[in-house]
Amino acid sequence: MYDKTVRRRRAVLALLVVLSLILLTAYFGEAPGGSLHAVQRGFLTVISPVQDGANKALKPVRDLFGWFGSTLHAKSQNSELKKQLAALRRELASRQEDEQSYRELIKLYHLDSALSIADYRPITTTVVYKSPSIWYLNVTIDKGSSSGVRINDPVIDGEGLIGKVTEVARDGALVSLITDSAVEVTAKIAATGEVGLLQPQVGEPGRLLMQLYQSAGAPVSRGDLVVTSGTISSKGDSLYPRGIPIGQVTSVNEQSAFKSINVSPLADLSNLDVVQVLTMVPGSPAAKLSGSVASLAPASPAEIEGEGPGGQVASTGGGG
């Protein structure tokens, strides 16, 4: 009798274990559309209403337990959340400062984008004529007003800024190089942000001298890049887009009250072949801004001295 009971018990156990393993193997091996899956789905279909009813009936119980659980959980988290709140407040203060800086940068970015090269329409032209005299450092290009070229349009090449348009004809224009005495560029040291007026260096053709408006005291190193500042210093200036490379610092003069910097142009001004004129489409933001800035800018010293502002403006700023 005892042996029979033991055998029956073991047989039942073995049967159930084997059945479980068969179910497991079959279920795991079959496709989602298989028979066991179908049985499972059918079972779920059958019990779903029952389960739904049970869920609704037991909802108050669940809510009660949930309320207790939530209360205990909330109490246990209270002190931790207070610490987190304090930390987040500190972080918020810091972030607000960052946000302010960010907004300022966004404004700056919009200004920058208004003056960037992307807002100009570059026209590629070929240099057809070069002045042989060192007194007139300019070149003539084969595109003129018929192509949209206007006076004061910046001119660049692959290296950087080379000058601006000073005379325009229908199918040609005169470009004054940055080493020409008629051209002044408001520039800045890219590394330090110091702004100054870049002019041809007297006595050294092909070299530039940058007079800094106000020295920030930051050291300027040899090799620092000089770029356009995106501003103008007088009414007749061209509003060069900001950030166009001009040259590199070769030396710094600190003998005088104003720091001056010797700059070597990046572009090979003696060997120009193909250049680009950054034209402004009439009515474009860049054209409007350029015109507005030119009209608001203070008069140049030449104008103040009565050197004929009309002529100055007519020759260099009329097309702004």
């Binding site: 156990l13 274990v17 059945l19 479980s20 497991l24 079959a26 779920l44 669940r62």
Partner: protein, 211 residues
């Protein structure tokens, strides 16, 4: 023995062990299993305690085995496991296999050791919960479920075992109350019930007869 499992029928080679799955007991186990599984799915699973859910089903299987013996424990474990797998759309056979072994083991514990300590349900509940979670993890890993062995899994097993242990005693009381009416009478339990329900002891009877 001062602390005993009151109402637990003494087994060994007792009536339950020798009986072939009494029908009334089977019905009670079946109804209780369905109710517990629905309560588990509908209520208990939605109430996390310390980040884990209480699992009543391994406790039910273990206590069924402890009360009814290894054979009914194994059968109940298989059925409850199958019900859980079907209802939760899990891999069929996994929970059945684990619960079958838990039910059988609990029944064998009763048949071989006949533990009478009051803490037995607590310890058995903890062992059943831990065994179920470890077994489930092992089978899932063997089946190739992509889950890394991490501290989180260990924490889940430990905390889950502790939480299930905390509800083991109330669950034991419930299961015993539901099933004890279907269990064959045990001489010791019948004798104890006589004492605790106002009945007179043989001594008082004899005194009455003497008068």
């Amino acid at each position: 023995m001062s602390t005993t499992l009151r109402g637990s029928p003494r087994a060994g080679a007792g009536p339950v062990a020798s009986a072939w799955l009494p029908g009334s007991l089977l019905w009670r186990v079946a109804v209780l299993s369905v109710i517990v599984v629905f309560v588990q799915i509908g209520v208990v699973s939605d109430v996390p305690v310390f980040g884990v859910s209480i699992d009543l089903s391994p406790l039910l299987v273990a206590f069924t085995g402890l009360l009814c013996g290894s054979m009914l424990g194994a059968v109940a474990g298989f059925g409850i496991g199958l019900l859980v797998d079907l209802a939760l759309m899990q891999t069929l056979g996994v929970t059945s296999l684990i619960f079958t072994l838990i039910g059988y083991g609990s029944g064998r514990l009763r048949e071989l050791r006949d533990p009478q300590a009051a803490l037995t349900p607590l310890l058995l509940g903890a062992a059943a919960a831990a065994g179920a979670m470890v077994g489930y993890s092992v089978i899932e890993f063997l089946l190739g479920v992509d889950a890394p062995i991490s501290f989180e899994l260990l924490r889940e097993i430990v905390v889950g075992t502790l939480v299930d242990t905390a509800v083991a005693l109330p669950m034991w009381v419930l299961v015993r109350r539901c099933l004890i009416g279907g269990l064959p009478d045990d001489p010791r339990r019948r004798r104890r019930r006589t004492y605790t329900t106002g009945g007179l002891s043989p001594l008082s009877h004899s005194r009455g007869r003497l008068r």
